[in-house]
Symmetry: C2
Subunit: 301 residues, 2 copies
């Protein structure tokens, strides 16, 4: 597949770069670039690239932040005048072995600390799939609930919102037994909204017949709104099947309006995992992200 012709609006290495919106373009006020979208960039490149492109916020991942140093990363982002929109990710709470479960809780507490240090408003939680060898889905779901109850006070003390991310049911077995927004809200509503919220990730929820009703129900609990498109055919690794907005089946206009109607006015984070994008020049990826975001995602009303 040719990246330059099928995915990006701006052919990589084209001699004349298409003009981008000015750094102060108010249409970009809520745009956040998740760092996985431009995976080829290190943290410093990412920050410089966002400043350069007039993108005011970044979604960060724990591993590269830890490698750079959490305090140092916080200062880098802050000094550049950027916001952190979210930290990915905590979770993986379904281990049944007591030692493994304790290790997972300890790791999540570290993740909460990191989010607090970075000034991230929320820690995205991918709750984990079925334990090895288990087919007890209700049991795994109960375990997530218990682990969340154990973590919530720690998060509340540090002012970090745990953001439960329902994943597409495709990932129920191996990544997240949390499969719908309704299920995430059933769980979140046991806690204060500022402590446990939900992620509305277009890729994971676009198919849900209850989507509009559940987004409305999520009013006051939407911690993060993430966008990327559901594209077919699936990539050989389904995790890397998240496409550029406009290349797939998601009606972003409808979803953005539903999220806005639920009162969410926070950052809108573009999080795309796609090998073709990763092979492209990150600056070209950013140009396409901005253009598609303005055309398709941000509320045109």
């Amino acid at each position: 597949m040719s990246v330059s012709t099928t995915v990006l609006d701006v052919p990589s290495g084209a001699p004349a770069r298409v003009p981008t919106p000015a750094a102060t373009d108010p249409r970009l006020d809520r745009l956040a670039l998740n760092q996985k979208t431009t995976d080829g960039w290190g943290l410093e490149d990412l920050v410089a690239g966002c400043v350069d492109a007039g993108i005011p916020a970044v979604g960060l991942w724990r591993e590269p932040v830890q490698a750079y140093g959490v305090e140092r990363a916080a200062a880098l982002v802050r000094d550049a005048g950027l916001r952190v929109s979210s930290l990915c990710r905590g979770g993986f709470l379904t281990a049944t072995d007591p030692a493994a479960a304790a290790t997972a809780l300890a790791d999540n507490r570290r993740a909460i600390d990191e989010a607090a240090t970075l000034g991230a408003p929320c820690l995205v939680m991918v709750v984990g799939g079925l334990p090895e060898g288990s087919r007890d889905l209700p049991g795994a779901r109960r375990q997530v609930e218990e682990a969340l109850a154990a973590l919530a006070p720690y998060a509340a003390e540090r002012g970090v919102q745990l953001a439960l991310e329902p994943l597409h049911p495709l990932f129920c077995a191996d990544r997240a037994v949390l499969s719908t927004l309704g299920q995430a809200l059933d769980l979140a509503e046991r806690f204060a909204p500022e402590t446990v919220g939900v992620v509305v990730d277009a890729y994971h929820v676009w198919w849900d017949p209850e989507l509009e009703a559940q987004v409305a129900r999520a009013a006051g609990r939407i911690a993060s709104y993430q966008v990327c498109d559901f594209v077919l055919p699936l990539a050989d690794d389904p995790l890397l099947s998240r496409g550029m907005m406009g290349d797939g089946y998601v009606d972003f206009t409808a979803l953005t309006r539903a999220v806005a109607a639920a009162g969410y006015d926070g950052d809108i984070e573009v999080e795309i995992f796609d090998r073709a994008l990763w092979a492209a020049d990150p600056r070209d990826v950013v140009d396409t992200v901005k253009r598609r975001y303005v055309e398709l995602v941000v509320d045109p009303v």
Copy 2:
């Protein structure tokens, strides 16, 4: 991948075949073999194979039945003393072009006639994905509802139940905008239960956090209970990712009990699409189907 060691309990071509339950084994009373599971068999082989194996019912597909002749197929199955558990499949009702929509309705009426001729209690409906170029999922869902209203009287007159099959959300874009059992029931409940029912297909619904509640709600509307396992990794063609019961993540004991508690006592149809199985000797596939069905699927209580 070696078929014989990873999928089948009985290595293909093994000199001594493991003894199979007797043809009158009462544990097999409700077992139906969907003909796609042993795709290498023509209709006559399928019928002979089921008689040979003590399997009392077959799930048929329209294309091979049409090729053989519908009346002739009906006689073949009947004369062998077998039941038809279901006919696959009607549906694909989401075309927006009026001519294409009319063609789809006409084809579904033919499918209803074929089901009646075969004595199939139900016609499985895979409703269709998003129309070409459309992102209007609510619109496609409304269209299914309208087409179903147009078809229901025709089905009722012929005593064929339309069996709405929610497909795994993985297939929402390209195969079925009907994604959950709850959504299928919302639609089915507008019609008499004997005219519009639902399919509980383990592969498609196992992940659903509302599964138990929705199966209970489906009491009196379960037209078909289909089994196969959700396995990972996905096949390169996700349609062919349905695995042998026991090879994946589905808790069949829990699902069979829920379906029984909802009053369903009809056939339990094993429908597996898997290239490795198709490459194997169908008699070995049938042996494994029977063994796994008895061990894992049929209610042990």
